[in-house]
């Protein structure tokens, strides 16, 4: 193995860790919603897209084709992405949170779909189907491997920080109340807890992480358009990551994200070597197999790789 090859492998590893980390952030978000609280969110890609577009509009240089040109620092873009996602998730929560999980699932699919329509059709703001390009990458001034490594470190630091925050929240009364609602909403209500409020909080917190992941992804691939990520595949992948890793377990969520992303990426490399016509079909075959994996995990290993472990009762919180 010569040095150029090793360098290539290293870059691939960096991209694997970066994308895995971005998915891990979404997975942690879904873990708050589904793993802790039992809220079914089928509109992950919608919140992801909001985050991506907000930061794209705020941090790009002036352009005639879309809203923006504010040229703001990336940090402000990402924080705004989270803030806007929070507000939208809060509004959605106010509307839908009282619905039973089945209805919430349908409603979130609808919301994701409407976001997609808006992003596609409001051309003045989003440049429609052509999307927003030239989104700045943080650490862009550094030399070739170091800018990518720098961004990977940024993503991994964010994952670590949120892991500790969410793990702390899980052990705190806030997180326990979420699980109490998931297990039995009525007894939580009977204990005098404000179920609606906690569910909205869980929905907003989870969605903010999805928005942040969207923002990071926009900076990483430097482009965002309605077709940049296939919405259902993104949503679905995050779901499989969480279920396979271990729903309700933060470490499981992160492990699932990295593991599934590695599988997803490796199989893409493999199918990419097939002749063009077969490669197209193989892409759908990958989705089919990931779906099958979900079914196997659901039926045989319901807890995932790292099953949920409830905090002991006499914890000093």
């Amino acid at each position: 193995m010569d040095s150029a090859q090793a360098y290539g492998y290293m870059l691939y590893f960096v991209s694997l860790m970066t994308m895995g980390g971005i998915y891990a952030i979404m997975c942690l978000g879904l873990n708050i919603q589904w793993g802790f609280t039992g809220l079914f969110n089928a509109g992950i890609a919608g919140f992801f897209a909001i985050g991506a577009y907000v930061t794209a509009i705020l941090t790009t240089a002036a352009s005639t084709s879309h809203l923006g040109g504010y040229d703001l620092p990336v940090a402000i873009g990402l924080i705004s992405a989270m803030a806007v996602t929070a507000v939208i998730a809060w509004l959605v929560g106010l509307l839908c949170i009282r619905l039973r999980s089945d209805y919430l699932a349908i409603a979130t699919i609808g919301i994701g779909e409407i976001f997609r329509l808006i992003l596609k059709n409001e051309i003045w703001a989003t440049n429609g189907a052509r999307g927003i390009a030239k989104i700045p990458l943080p650490f862009e001034s550094l030399n070739e491997p170091w800018n990518k490594i720098g961004f990977m470190m940024l993503v991994l630091v964010i994952v670590t920080v949120f892991y500790f925050l969410i793990e702390r929240a899980r052990l705190a009364p806030w997180g326990r109340l979420m699980t109490a609602i998931r297990e039995n909403e009525y007894s939580a209500r009977a204990a005098g807890k404000n179920v609606e409020r906690v569910r909205i909080e869980a929905f907003v917190c989870g969605s903010v992480l999805m928005g942040l992941a969207g923002g990071l992804m926009a900076h990483y691939i430097k482009f965002i358009g309605p077709g940049a990520t296939e919405p259902l595949t993104t949503t679905f992948l995050v779901w499989v990551m969480l279920i396979a890793g271990g729903s309700g377990n933060n470490r499981g969520a992160i492990l699932g994200a990295f593991l599934l992303w590695a599988i997803w990426s490796f199989t893409e490399v493999l199918t990419g070597r097939l002749p063009a016509e077969l490669a197209v079909k193989a892409a759908y075959f990958r989705i089919f197999l990931i779906g099958l994996l979900l079914q196997i995990v659901l039926q045989r290993y319901a807890g995932g790789i790292l099953p949920e472990r409830r905090p002991s009762l006499n914890i000093k919180a």
């Binding site: 999980s101 349908i106 609808g110 779909e113």
Partner: protein
């Protein structure tokens, strides 16, 4: 090129006919298609107690099977529709047996996750088998619409779609009210426990539900494909309007689903009519939002639907 003033004059003269030809009739056609799909969603939701996210994919599979049968036999899609219904029913019963049955006793939320996965699997299976190109049932020959009373334009396929839908709904009505299985389905939708206590074989009822739901979904998919064309995303795009229709009519209420389907279809088409001024009230690009808005309003205002369905 028609001078502007003349064009406006023509449009004014045919103001009402435009409304009927280009908004009301397409709305009715779309509404019948939604209604057929929504009956299945509503029955499955009522009897198996979960929102089947893969119902749109049953439409997709049915429509593509019909296409293959049409190519294979050279017959009109309507002629091969019953055979396609049979195949799609087998697929639905197979999916239920393999992927949904293990979760009968568990919380319904797990089954939604499973059905979400099934939807993706079914869609990718269609994309693997038939590819991602769009197909059309018609051979490219444009049929001139029937013109009644000089101004009412009816295309043949629209007449066929609405008539067949009405006939299918009549059949559903007879099955639900006259046959033992149909009555058992209604009983189980009311209360699964009581149905079991009275000796109804619930697993058979579940099978019958899937056969009925899949057959109607096939018809809906074929009609939709006939009205426009076949593509692999058609099932997913139908999901939201079908759920909106089922919720509007009341979950577990097949008649409600029929009305709900018509309301959603009409609302989607009529929302693009220039009610105020010259431009469409709502840009047609946002049609999908109409179904969603109706659904949310209904869920908040009256979750049991118009026809007193179940609230879970």
């Amino acid at each position: 090129m028609i001078p502007r003033s003349q064009k406006c004059f023509w449009a004014d003269n045919n103001f009402k006919m435009d409304f009927i030809n280009f908004y009301l009739i397409p709305g009715l056609v779309l509404g019948s298609i939604y209604a057929l799909g929504a009956i299945g969603v509503s029955l499955v939701f009522g009897i198996l107690r979960f929102a089947n996210f893969a119902h749109g994919e049953l439409m997709l599979i049915g429509a593509y099977i019909t296409y293959s049968l049409m190519v294979f036999t050279g017959l009109h899609p309507l002629m091969v529709l019953p055979i396609a219904m049979l195949f799609t029913s087998l697929v639905a019963v197979g999916i239920d047996h393999t992927f949904y049955k293990p979760f009968r006793a568990s919380k319904s939320t797990i089954v939604i996750v499973a059905s979400f996965g099934i939807a993706l699997m079914a869609r990718s299976a269609v994309q693997i088998i038939w590819g991602v190109d769009t197909f059309s049932y018609s051979s490219g020959r444009i049929q001139m619409p029937m013109i009644l009373f000089d101004t009412l334009r009816l295309s043949h396929k629209h007449v066929w779609i609405v008539c067949c839908s009405v006939a299918l709904m009549a059949v559903i009505h007879l099955i639900l009210t006259r046959t033992r299985t149909g009555k058992a389905m209604r009983a189980m939708s009311d209360s699964a426990e009581l149905a079991r206590l009275t000796g109804i074989k619930t697993e058979n009822v579940v099978k019958a539900t899937w056969v009925l739901g899949a057959s109607l979904a096939t018809a809906a998919g074929v009609f939709l494909g006939w009205d426009s064309h076949l593509h692999s995303m058609m099932g997913f795009y139908m999901l939201l309007p079908m759920f909106a229709a089922a919720i509007l009519g009341g979950i577990g209420q097949p008649y409600g689903a029929m009305v709900g389907g018509l309301v959603v279809g009409l609302a989607e088409e009529l929302s693009a009519y220039p009610w105020i001024g010259d431009s469409p009230l709502l840009s047609p690009a946002y049609k999908a939002g109409v179904a969603f808005a109706l659904m949310i309003i209904m869920l908040i205002w009256r979750p049991s639907g118009l026809f007193k369905g179940r609230v879970f």
